[in-house]
């Protein structure tokens, strides 16, 4: 994308740049009215976008088919509207029904969907020995297999981690620490990449680097 030339776009770019600095005034300086202003602007704008986008979605999914003759669509429309009874204390229990539909569908889909990838495939991959692999491949295979068993034992919370369980659960905890360390390392990449994007934007608006 090239540096914009239209006046409104250039103005918008600089507005965005100043808004970014207003937000960063909080960590780089201290909490101040500029930061609060930008924060509240964002919440207001986001709320409106949420409302309109969901409105157009409901129109598309429910209202339009209803107007075109799909009478059954009145059911989710009424159920959806019933969720607003949550705002009325004496009728709050009515909102449990639309929640029950969402929760039921979510749990049903979650239960049926999680078995194969998170249990079956994970366990099969763990117990499948390397075919014709070298020493490192076998070491890795044993590492994953032993690590998995010990880490799962760590989550046996109904048994005291003492006696014969003490060693494996302690080992399991170390495996989990290793995994969390790796997760932290990847999290750092994620957070710093987002910051890098902002640093790049800072320089691009000032035309110090090409857009």
């Amino acid at each position: 994308m090239a540096y914009p030339t239209a006046t409104l776009d250039v103005v918008g770019l600089w507005v965005g740049w100043f808004l970014m600095l207003m937000i960063y005034s909080y960590p780089l300086y201290k909490e101040n009215p500029a930061y609060r202003t930008a924060e509240h602007m964002f919440i207001g704008v986001t709320l409106a976008i949420t409302a309109i986008t969901n409105f157009s979605n409901v129109m598309r999914l429910c209202i339009t088919p209803l107007m075109q003759g799909n009478i059954l669509m009145i059911v989710p429309l009424i159920l959806g509207l019933l969720i607003f009874t949550m705002l009325i204390p004496e009728y709050r229990w009515v909102s449990r029904y639309p929640i029950a539909v969402m929760v039921g569908a979510g749990f049903g889909l979650g239960i049926r969907g999680t078995i194969k990838p998170n249990l079956q495939d994970a366990i099969i991959d763990t117990i499948t020995a390397p075919s014709g692999g070298g020493i490192l491949d076998w070491f890795n295979y044993l590492w994953v297999a032993v690590g998995l068993v010990c880490s799962i034992m760590y989550f046996l919370l109904t048994f005291e981690h003492a006696g014969p369980l003490k060693g494996p659960t302690r080992l399991g905890r170390l495996f989990l620490m290793l995994a969390l360390g790796g997760y932290f390392g990847n999290t750092v990449l994620f957070r710093f990449t987002m910051l890098t994007g902002r640093a790049q934007f800072f320089l691009q608006v000032l035309k110090l680097i090409p857009m």
Binding site: L28, L109, G110, G113, P117, D125, T187, A199, Q200, I209
Partner: protein
């Protein structure tokens, strides 16, 4: 400066150091070489060559918003280019309110590839969806029920490339670029249920959970954050935003490791002092 004084430095000093350090590599690029990881190679191999037939319909899920553009967008750009060059057709969908902005940005970053493609025949933007696992499951059984129209209001049935595209059986593969759970939903409701070919182009944070799934065969490839994006740019031979950002990433990571080491010097000296 004693260690105790070091420990009491105002945290804002660190923030300024980081903020400035992130910008320097953009002004004076270094250009460290990047090694391609096997998960990224598998992803690229899965969307190129004989793995993709002309006319195959793929779904590209924009599961990221503007805040994660620098993380996910470079990889999505490369995957879009690769699929278009193989003659595949792409359905773009998204789960964030700013999905239209992401779609517009993709048109900008892949402008040359979009130039010889026709909307409605080679690609379509169906727009925003939400509903968690339910909407992803429903998408698999009836796409038109989730998107009766595309983002611009054209009825599903009036879009030429969607003729005959009804459910998961008509989709060759799914590429999901995620900051959250939707990649997992596609995995449980599409890949696990129907065996649909699927890859994850996620944020780095998801890399730890996605790499074991790639190893288990749930994903045919995984791109891990901006590093994955840089690797994909190297594979397609068109360096872009992710490669540019890698120098800045290198500097910031080194600074963080330095901060960890400095912070732990105190612990180390305490332990050694205690032993004495």
């Amino acid at each position: 400066m004693s260690l105790s004084k070091l420990a009491n430095i105002d945290r804002r000093v660190f923030y300024w150091i980081l903020f400035i350090a992130l910008m320097v590599p953009f002004l004076s690029p270094i250009g460290f070489p990047i090694t391609i990881a096997p998960n990224t190679q598998d992803l690229y191999d899965g969307i190129t060559g004989d793995q993709v037939n002309e006319g195959d319909v793929w779904i590209m899920n924009f599961g990221y918003g503007v805040s994660a553009w620098s993380e996910c967008h470079p990889a999505v750009t490369v995957c879009t280019k690769a699929l278009f060059r193989e003659g595949a057709k792409i359905i773009f969908i998204g789960i964030h309110y700013d999905v239209e902005l992401t779609y517009n940005k993709l048109q900008d970053t892949c402008s040359e590839d979009f130039a010889d493609k026709v909307y409605g025949e080679d690609y379509v933007f169906l727009g925003y969806m939400t509903g968690g696992e339910s909407v992803v499951a429903q998408l698999g059984s009836d796409i038109a029920s989730v998107f009766p129209q595309d983002h611009f209001g054209t009825p599903y049935g009036d879009i030429p490339m969607l003729e005959g595209v009804e459910d998961h059986t008509d989709i060759a593969g799914v590429l999901s670029s995620d900051t959250g759970d939707y990649g997992t939903h596609f995995m449980t409701q599409w890949q696990a249920a129907y065996g649909t070919k699927m890859a994850e182009i996620g944020i780095a944070m998801n890399g730890s959970t996605d790499l074991p799934r790639w190893q288990a065969g749930n994903f045919f490839g995984v791109s891990v954050g901006s590093r994955g994006g840089a690797e994909l740019e190297a594979l397609i031979g068109e360096l872009g935003e992710a490669t540019t950002a890698m120098d800045s990433i290198s500097v910031s990571h080194l600074l963080l490791i330095l901060a960890i080491i400095l912070g732990n010097i105190g612990v180390l000296t305490e332990k050694l002092g205690g032993k004495k």
